[in-house]
Amino acid sequence: MVTGQDTGRKGLVVGIWSKLLGQLQSSPKIQYTEVSASAAKERLKVALTYDRNGLEQGTVDSLREELVRLMAEHLDVHTEDVEVNIDQSTGPNRLVASIALRPLRRPRPTAAAATEAR
């Protein structure tokens, strides 16, 4: 017959053992997992910048899409060429759109064309 005390003691032993095992298993893991505090800091910084300026990140994303569509009528731009950021470096905060220009790819003269020109 198993008394209440016995099960209690058994439970304690199991508890300590699993705790030890847990320690052994989890301690090396900690070194490999990415620390989460830096992720928290980065996410907060971005979220608070938008909060403080009364903007939604999704709104800025769709604004970027629309900018690209509008500019594409005149320029060769793609979504990945456009960055829209909140600039807090000077005076009142500004929403800054920066458009990377694509270098023109001039068609290489063919050998035939080159000889003709000569």
Partner: protein, 264 residues
């Protein structure tokens, strides 16, 4: 007398406004300052039960606002620390029973009666929050190292800065030093950088907060409570003393542990 009125607020609920209000009030009172803790969470009052004064309420804040009694009559005197008092909130009404104008008037009265008036704000940024901050000279924003609490703290700081010219300071509650060391919890410098207001105190995660509030006792009156010590340090900083921030490397050093074991 021209006392100081300090409002404790956070935006987010459950970060420790009530525990802070109760313990810092008790610590200020224990330092000989005539102090009143005011619960402005009308409809969801809790400061009374945390302070262990829930069975002594006769009149409340709304009774004062609606003219059924003078503020002196609604204030309860704590029997453990005779300089400690509580002005409880009403439980069966809602936030609209109090207006910012009436709170300003009550704060002006309390300022004449007490060295310190500590106002416990409800969660949120609506009427209850406005009631709590309108009559204050200083604002303490309390947060935990969680992204949700920090974001809400930032919102509250923005609202206070936009509306008033009150002095604002930051308290970080429930810090877990071992998690900070592993890089899994935001550290104090990170939070100060993000929120950019001066620090008033850091309170480590501590089980004695649960056990003391279970009994209606105050952690500041428990000699071994680390959080209680942090609250006492904050009270002294409020009084202008230059108290260094607690070393959070370990909550108790080996030497302190030995001393405690040997009772020296």
């Amino acid at each position: 007398m021209a006392g100081r009125v300090i409002t404790v607020t956070s935006g987010k609920g459950g970060v420790g406004k009530t525990t802070f209000s109760a313990n810092v009030s008790a610590a200020l009172a224990a330092l000989g300052k005539k102090t009143v803790a005011v619960d402005t969470d009308v409809g969801l009052r809790n400061l009374d039960i945390v302070m262990g004064l829930e069975n002594r309420i006769v009149y409340d804040l709304v009774d004062v606002v609606e003219g059924r009694c003078r503020v002196q009559k609604a204030v309860i005197r704590d029997k453990r620390i005779d300089t400690l008092h509580l002005l409880p909130a009403a439980q069966t009404r809602d936030k609209t029973a109090v207006t910012p104008e009436s709170m300003e008037k009550i704060c002006a009265e309390l300022r004449e009666m007490f060295d310190f008036t500590i106002i416990d704000s409800p969660a949120g940024i609506e009427r209850g929050f406005q009631n709590a901050v309108v009559g204050a000279d200083e604002i303490v924003v309390i947060t935990t190292p969680h992204v949700s609490a920090i974001r809400d703290a930032d919102r509250v700081i923005g609202l206070v800065e936009a509306a008033e010219k009150q002095q604002i300071s930051l308290v970080v509650n429930r810090l877990q030093p071992d998690m900070v060391r592993r890089g899994d919890m935001l550290d104090i410098p990170d939070m100060l950088e993000i929120l950019s207001i001066p620090p008033l105190g850091i309170i480590p995660e501590d089980e004695s907060i649960v056990t003391s509030s279970n009994k209606g006792e105050l952690a500041t009156r428990m000699p071994r409570s680390v959080a209680g010590q942090a609250y006492k340090n904050i009270a002294r900083r409020i009084l202008g003393e230059d108290v260094p921030f607690m070393s959070l490397e370990s909550s108790e050093s080996l030497l302190q542990w030995l001393k405690r074991m040997l009772k020296i």
